[in-house]
Amino acid sequence: MTLLQTPLYSACVEQKARMTEFAGWSMPVQFSGIKQEHQAVRQRAGLFDISHMGKFELRGPGVIAALQTLVPSNLGRLTQGQAQYTVLLNPEGGIIDDLIVYLKSSPVGSGTGLETVALIVNAATTDKDKTWLLEHLAGTGIELVDESRDRALISIQGPAAAALLQPHTSLELNALGRFAHRDTALLGQMAWVARTGYTGEDGFEIMTDPDTALALWQTLTEAGAAPCGLGARDTLRLEAAMALYGQDIDDTTSPPEAGLGWLVHLDEKGDFIGRSVLEQQRAEGVSRRLVGLAMTGRHIARHDYPVLYQGDRVGTITSGTLAPTLNIPIALAYVAAPLAKVGQVLEVEVRGEPQGATVVKRPFYRAK
């Protein structure tokens, strides 16, 4: 199978990236090394090619109203220029995908009664999401434009992100709040900038045409942003305890189980797919919960390792790594709800041997 290449593929190869297959794309997994890249983002700024992510634009009448039926969050909270993190749910309350919904122009803002909404979804779920959206938006007059392979997406993350990006745009970046976004000019070209990210640091995600992305990549790396791969992206998001779709959350996990209960606004909105299951879970509680674990020893608890309590299986690891900032192995795991409390001592079975672990607060790391 031929792998897809992002507009930044050759730039990454030129910068000595080690490439890997991810969701059908050839993507950089690391440049200078995961640890160095991770620290660059925590201390200064790192640059990620995330052009593989799914990019949809929905245009038409009542886009937000239509999306309200597909997510548990109240999208009525969105104002023009703001974004919201949420999930698409199946009828069983399971997560089809996690995504960010951006209101680009509201009916009032557009002056035409029409809305424009952008969705950024996971690369591996782009086709599945598109099918689901088209099925549920049929007959609404809403048009879905799939820009996944045409537009580039760059993420600059870290405490110096704003300072490195500011010289190249007239947009006042520090006036842009968290989860705010704007159309603006970058390097003299049209671009769309959002103050979002997947690292636990301040940062921006920038969508442009492929040529502008390439120029921006070169400009920002020359200015000192460290090119970073998927390896550091994973350790950064895990320290920030952000879920990875397909690993920590999937079609069988509900938001309250996954620690995403804050996305569920049952009392603020009407019916949506999966609502009855979430109502039942609110009334009866859930049987398992996603927790953060800190390992006692040096072993890394990896995906699918069993979690034990007094010798009995009580859960499963979903993600684990050696946390570069904290220098201890950390993990996310689903465990039986009664054991899902901070301070609870558990064990993780590492290749046949039980190893100590303690439930700790999430996120593992929080930016100062």
Partner: protein, 130 residues
């Protein structure tokens, strides 16, 4: 990327190296620079006890990195004479000097002919693509 593969060592396709630099049948075993680079930061090392007997081609320990867990295979049958205690304490240092301070175990080989079918530096280099 070019890595060093000393000519005096023998190599396994599972990325261990073996050094026989004396006449007493003692073999020093470690992991090649190529394999360490592929694995990334090493976080855990499990080695056999002194006195344990090893079988050629059988697992004698585990090396764990941020990315993966790999079994270590013994290039010879024999008895463990020494293990690198400093490295067990600080496994992240293995990559600093893979063919020197990064050694894992010293084995008294039952029969040095066990190494006859191991790879030469050139053969190993061909296998890992230079």
């Amino acid at each position: 990327m070019a890595f060093e593969y000393p000519e005096t060592l023998k190599y396994l396709d599972s990325h261990e190296y073996a050094r026989t630099d004396d006449d007493e049948g003692i073999v020093t075993v470690g992991i090649t620079a190529f394999a360490l680079d592929q694995m990334g930061d090493i976080v855990f090392l499990e080695l056999p006890e002194i006195g344990d007997s090893l079988e050629k081609g059988e697992k004698f320990g585990t090396v764990e990195s941020v990315k993966a867990v790999e079994e270590l295979k013994s290039p010879v049958s024999g008895e463990v004479l020494e293990r690198n205690e400093a490295l067990i304490e600080a496994p992240e240092q293995i990559g600093d000097d893979p063919y020197g301070d990064g050694w894992l175990v010293k084995i008294r080989a039952t029969d040095l002919d066990d190494l006859d079918d191991a790879l030469t530096a050139d053969e190993y280099k061909d296998q890992v693509g230079g």
